[in-house]
Symmetry: C2
Subunit: 206 residues, 2 copies
């Protein structure tokens, strides 16, 4: 089994499974089934078994999955059995919100650097971090070896900043700007697009 | 064909297809193929053909899909061939960012009401809207017939506010709080969770 053979679409479902499993664990549950997990996340039980089987044998016929064990395995598979430093670029409303976001703890990430190009924002302290000048972004990210960035700049600036992030060695960009980014092979972009979330629900509204 | 028979997982992919198609259209393209669209969104061509075939026959063998036509059809299927009013609850950093977000135009949504419980924020004007008192939220949403809300309150308040939104008749909640919500049948929740976006990329990082 080589990792590169596993379809992106399966990888994209793993974090959803993980979130559901953590929620079950938070409720005190110890085991679950592909049926139960599937109902939780809106995926068929067969699909869940098929997805997880790409990575090994995690459940037992009849007894289901041990939740703690499956969480541990998913963390390992997704490489979040460590903490990744993340740079946040753009300290507008969204950047501020991200810098203060309490949801990264125990999820594998830590906001490590904040950047903005606005002299009025450079030097501002947010949750113990000082906003740095974007002009120093490329060397600072390179030196720190940061591979992950969250892009919170306006749409008009997003591509140019993404190019700089790529130059700095960033391989994974979470993009909040309402614009599609072009990046070279080997760099991944995920979009945090509220319209997508809303459009997933309007189908069900009369 | 009844709509209720179409799996949620297929519905959840439609907004992704739509975004890619709109991006292609923005680049001046007129037609595309399931192959090309698939490469764009990281889904197999066969899956795209299967997904779209749930709703009718949109492409022609050999000539592919007319992009403008497929966009129009997807808008109809997802009920975003209209504009939905959306209430935003919680005017912290994230609520502010959402209230000012420029990405809803032409996507089917319009921010219509803002709420907060903090007296310091009530009455504040953001992009032409005055922040209202959350104490008036239930009757205000009921009277306006709003069905969609974005929840930007702290995790500790999210479930209580969600309960009020449900009471007010909201059927679709986009939740920014890092917490899983419990809602009655017939109400849908989507999570805008930056950790999920990041975890979809760390798999590919060494």
């Amino acid at each position: 089994m080589t990792q590169s053979k596993i379809p992106d679409i399966i990888i994209s479902r793993l974090p959803i499974y993980l979130r559901a499993l953590r929620h079950m664990q938070g409720q005190g549950k110890q085991t679950t089934s592909s049926q139960e997990l599937g109902e939780w996340v809106g995926v068929s039980a067969a699909q869940i078994r098929k997805d997880l089987s790409q990575f090994g044998e995690f459940g037992k016929q009849g007894t289901g999955y041990n939740i703690a064990f499956l969480i541990k395995k998913l963390n390992e598979i997704m490489h979040i059995d460590r903490v990744w430093d993340v740079a946040v670029v753009g300290m507008g409303d969204m950047g501020h919100a991200i810098a203060r976001y309490q949801g990264f703890a125990d999820r594998g990430f830590r906001v490590a650097m904040l950047f903005d190009s606005d002299p009025a924002k450079i030097g501002e302290e947010i949750d113990g971090f000082v906003v740095r000048d974007s002009a120093q972004m490329v060397p600072a990210i390179q030196q720190a070896g940061i591979r992950i960035a969250m892009l919170c700049v306006p749409a008009s600036a997003a591509q140019a900043v993404a190019n700089q992030l790529v130059q700095a060695g960033v391989k994974a960009i979470l993009n909040y700007a309402p614009i599609s980014l072009t990046v070279p092979p080997g760099v991944r972009v995920q979009y945090l697009d509220p319209s997508i979330g809303l459009q997933r629900m309007t189908y069900y509204l009369e």
